[in-house]
């Protein structure tokens, strides 16, 4: 599988990152098999979080067995020192390892959160302390929030080394600043910050729970995913062709094999094809009157 430099971290990540949340829905034996399958495809970057149910615990055994082969990202939603310090130790403990390669501030959404995180006694203090103590190697951020807020975070966190954000044809087709993740991508490229793409496989939101109860959804993702081999391949190729360093696999274990397959076969995507995908979904919720042309 193709690898790319993850910004200036020194890490060469496979173009696919395994979203280990998928392990949460498997028994331990199935989780072990899935990690073996993922490693068989050459994937060397895994991502996990303490909020993904049992995923950390289920990843543990195989992670320890193959520790050298896996660059592990983990995250915290804590915004203050105490909580973040505790979460780092807890994740290390649950995973059963000494060092997390990449530790990310997870799900940044509001300016005030950024204030708290970067203030004295904020989560960053704990993360930096952990870094100095060798518990983590690199510092990252994840957000599906306002791109301007992410840019702001890049400005305010000097030692930020990676950013994880959404990128897919729907997002790429929108010009409003609230969807301008391309600006984030550009900034990261110019500053040597690693980029991880999420929501690459999102087709849309789930129908309202009145129409479709949460328990009746066919996939564990928090959005409705594309789910045919062709569509998955196309979405993977699109995301990887945008220039992201790596694309995170979707949360549902049923989709992982197809995504591994797509990533193994990745050979780029020409621009006329990328535009075609953007154009195809641009009309989904277009305010413009029906039109004949593209």
């Amino acid at each position: 599988m193709e690898t790319r430099a993850l910004g200036d971290t020194g890490q060469e990540s496979t173009v696919l990152t395994f979203g280990s949340i998928a392990l949460n829905w498997l028994e331990q034996e199935g989780a072990n098999q899935m990690v073996e399958l993922v490693l068989d495809h050459g994937v060397n970057h895994f991502d996990v979080a303490p909020t993904y149910g049992d995923a950390e615990l289920k990843l543990g055994p195989k992670l320890r067995q193959y520790r050298e082969d896996i660059f592990l990202g983990c995250k915290t939603q804590e915004r203050e020192y105490e909580g973040a310090a505790r979460k780092i130790d807890r994740s290390l403990d649950r995973l059963g390892i000494d060092t997390i390669d990449l530790y990310q501030i997870h799900g940044l959404e509001y300016e005030e959160e950024l204030d708290t995180i970067t203030a004295d006694g904020g989560a960053l203090d704990a993360i930096r302390e952990a870094k100095a103590a060798g518990k983590i190697d690199h510092i990252g951020l994840t957000s599906h929030g306002d791109p301007d807020l992410i840019l702001d975070a890049i400005d305010r966190i000097d030692d930020l080394e990676t950013v994880m954000f959404p990128l897919n044809p729907v997002v790429a087709g929108k010009d409003d600043s609230e969807y301008d993740y391309e600006a984030v991508l550009e900034r990261c490229e110019s500053e040597g910050i690693g980029t991880l793409g999420i929501k690459a496989f999102a087709k849309g939101s789930w129908p309202s729970t009145d129409e479709l109860a949460e328990a009746d959804r066919p996939y564990a993702n928090w959005y409705e995913p594309v789910d045919t081999p062709e569509a998955i391949r196309e979405r993977f190729d699109f995301a990887a062709a945008q220039g992201l360093d790596t694309v995170v696999s979707p949360g549902d274990p049923k989709l992982v094999k197809m995504v591994l397959d797509a990533a193994s076969r990745f050979e780029g995507m020409d621009e006329a094809r990328q535009r075609s995908l953007i154009e195809e979904v641009r009309h989904d919720d277009s305010p413009v009157p029906e039109q004949l042309h593209h």
Binding site: A172, G173, K174, D175, D176, D270, E271, A272, R273, Q274, R275, S276, L277, I278, E279, E280, R282, H283, S286, V288, P289, E290, Q291, L292, H293, H294
Partner: protein, 242 residues
Amino acid sequence: MAADVPETVTAALADRQVEGQVCLEAGAGVGNTTAGLLAAGAKRVYAVTNDADHAATVRERVGDGSADRLVVVEADLRATPLATDSVDLVTAHGLCNVLPPADLDAVAAELTRVAKSDGRLVVDDYAVPPADAAVTRLFALENAAARVVDGRPALAFYPPAVLAAVFADHGWAIERKATLLDPVPWTEAHLNAHADVVREYAATLPDSLGEPLAAMAEDLVAAIGSERAGTMYSLAFRLGDV
């Protein structure tokens, strides 16, 4: 700018000088290219269409915030009120496929008249869709309805070499060719818009003729659903010595 500029438009304009230029958007439609030209810093955009609804849509959708740089002109492209030698950049995005051959040449002549002697031109259009594409059945029905009502087809897909030759006849030298879409995604919305054209023609006909036409259009849209077929290309020209 609120209007989302399609990637097709952005790609076609990316290697053109737009900033500070006086532009003519030939066949403004719903204003996609107008929005793209304004976003790229055009000094002024004359958005020309012969359709009053389109003119209103462009004003409403794109006029906001750039009203001082936008002039929507309701006119026939074969004879516009624009001055000779007055335009730096002419764009025709998805225009030629709605021009039957006889009109195409007259429009090319008029665009050449208003362009400055060192003017530039961008023509974006669809290649002839592959014969086995289901959408060709809908386009054929649309043309049949148009012929019955107007005595001329509604759609004409020109290969890039043909459009290059038509404009070359008026002194335009080709600078580059690019593929904008491959494949072209004909979504349900696009197919419905084409079916609407059939319905409009059908509405002007006696029921015995119009109703079956409209029903056929509806059936075709339902049968096709959506389809990816064909390509959309972009040609860039400059006026003057070849």
